[in-house]
Amino acid sequence: MSVKITIDPIACDAYGFCAELLPEAISLDEWGYPVVDGHPLPLELVEAARRAARDCPRRAITVTTRRTESR
């Protein structure tokens, strides 16, 4: 299973809560907008990512889970 965070840059208004709640994967640029590192999220951070998505005042964060295909 791989988990990915996507931020809707139109919805985002730089509240910055996400970087507080998930500093391991989200940092803020010099203007206060979130930068996601783009790597798949470690599983132990999934709950924190969901919380960041829930608590975003602009509902700009999507956490997508994709089952990794076994070959």
Partner: protein, 428 residues
């Protein structure tokens, strides 16, 4: 303003856009009536899908998305939709939409009609920016002639969105036609069909449609006979800057860049080409022989974009020109995404300081970091284009960058621009 280089005599049959008849009578005499039969004509739909796939035709509005895939996606979204002719040409250096709609409007509209039949669309909308009345009039006259002659099954209308750089981005255009908001939409998955009024919207650049019009009639072979094997076909390029005869030309794909530039007359010696437009890349003399094809341009960090080559002569400053472009692109943000709204002006400020020889010690580090941070973080590709342009300037004009950084800008940094940047506050 515009010169079009006509194809060599006797080669018209092998898929050329320019040089085809402008009027409907001439158009029908040359190509015959539309070969669209009924709404359930699966044979001609299959033939069109096959022709597009076989030709390898890709969108010529800058995105480069395969036309066959785009058609398949639109077909999957069901009937009753809209085919949008995108003549928004927000890029100031480009003239091809204007040339196509004034010189060969019926090729463009035919392409739209074939797609409308293949997707069982309800209407065709031609989008021409506000302010370009003569282009809208030309399109309107062509449509009236077609209506009068019963040429074309699906109704064609003209719409006039605002004349801004990003409105030509296809999701912004669909957004305007759907909701009156001429701003790009956030589409993480580009495979999702665009919609207008909850029905499929198939948006295509004028040039792509003109090719589709010919491929639908003649199949892919004439298109495949042009260009190079890896990338067949012809394409339109607007040549500008320091050349004797700026204008739109039609070239075989794979023509070397300097061969393309030469079509606009002798240049006084070029120090770089701006390829792809303001969101494109500078290419230096060591790569002037690069073939004009996506694959080859990519190897030198460039892309064809909407089809533009601007020649920068010896008496211009690449840093100063790039700073002007960066400022212009910052002013053209749709104002939706933070990294674009704040990042592009910050990048433009850095470039302006560099151009004027007022760089502080941190400037290049800061600018490099800002370019990395802004890249890929908008809903549309507008900020990415600005980043690409500035990065290419820092690399192609590296010697000048060093001189400017040391506070000794090159002697031409105050020279007037060779670009067609709109004057702030002036007419569009």
């Amino acid at each position: 303003m515009t010169t079009s280089v006509s194809p060599a005599p006797g080669r018209c049959v092998t898929h050329f856009l320019l040089g085809q008849p402008s009027d409907l009578a001439g158009h029908i005499a040359a190509h015959g009536p539309l070969a669209v039969r009924g709404r359930r004509d699966h044979g001609s739909v299959d033939a069109l899908l096959f022709g597009l796939e076989r030709s390898g035709l890709r969108g010529l509005g800058g995105g480069g998305f395969p036309a066959s895939v785009k058609l398949a996606v639109a077909r999957s979204a069901g009937a009753g939709g809209t085919v949008v002719v995108n003549a928004m040409e927000g890029e100031p250096e480009s003239d091809k939409d204007k040339v196509l709609l004034t010189h060969v409007p019926h090729l463009v509209l035919d392409g739209a009609q074939y797609l409308a039949a293949a997707t069982r669309a309800r209407r065709i909308v031609v989008c021409v920016p506000l302010g370009l009345d003569h282009i809208a009039d030309a399109a309107g006259r062509a449509m009236a002639d077609r209506r009068g002659a019963g040429h074309g099954r699906v109704g064609e209308t003209v719409m006039r969105p605002p004349h801004r750089y990003v409105v030509g981005e296809e999701s912004a255009l669909a957004n305007f036609l759907d909701a009156g908001v001429a701003r790009p939409q956030f589409r993480p998955d580009k495979g999702t069909p665009l919609t207008i009024g909850r029905r499929a919207a198939l948006v295509h650049n004028t040039e792509t449609l003109a090719h589709i019009g010919l491929i639908a009639r003649y199949g892919p072979d004439p298109f495949l006979s042009r260009g190079i094997t890896e990338e067949p076909g012809t394409c339109l390029v607007t040549i500008g800057g320091d050349v004797a005869h700026p204008g739109v030309v039609e070239i075989d794909r794979g023509t070397p860049l300097h061969g393309v530039a030469k079509l606009a007359g002798p240049a006084s010696g070029a120090q770089a080409y701006l390829v792809g437009g303001y969101g494109g890349s500078w290419v230096g003399p060591s790569h002037f022989a690069t073939p004009y094809s996506s694959m080859s341009l990519r190897t030198v960090g460039a892309s064809a974009g909407v089809g533009i080559v601007v020649v920068l002569g010896r008496s211009s400053c690449g840093i100063a020109e790039s700073a002007r472009i960066a400022r212009y692109l910052a002013s053209q943000s749709a104002g939706q995404c933070g990294p674009c709204v704040f990042g592009l002006p910050a990048i433009a400020d850095d470039m302006a300081q560099l151009a004027e020889g007022r760089a502080d010690d941190q400037l290049l580090t800061r600018l490099g970091h800002r370019l990395d941070v802004v890249d890929g973080r908008g809903a549309c590709r507008h900020p990415d284009g600005a980043v690409r342009l500035v990065r290419s300037a820092l690399s192609v004009f590296a010697d000048d960058v060093e001189a400017h950084r040391r506070g000794r800008p090159c002697e031409h940094h105050g020279a007037p621009t060779v670009l067609r940047l709109p004057i702030p506050g002036g007419p569009p």
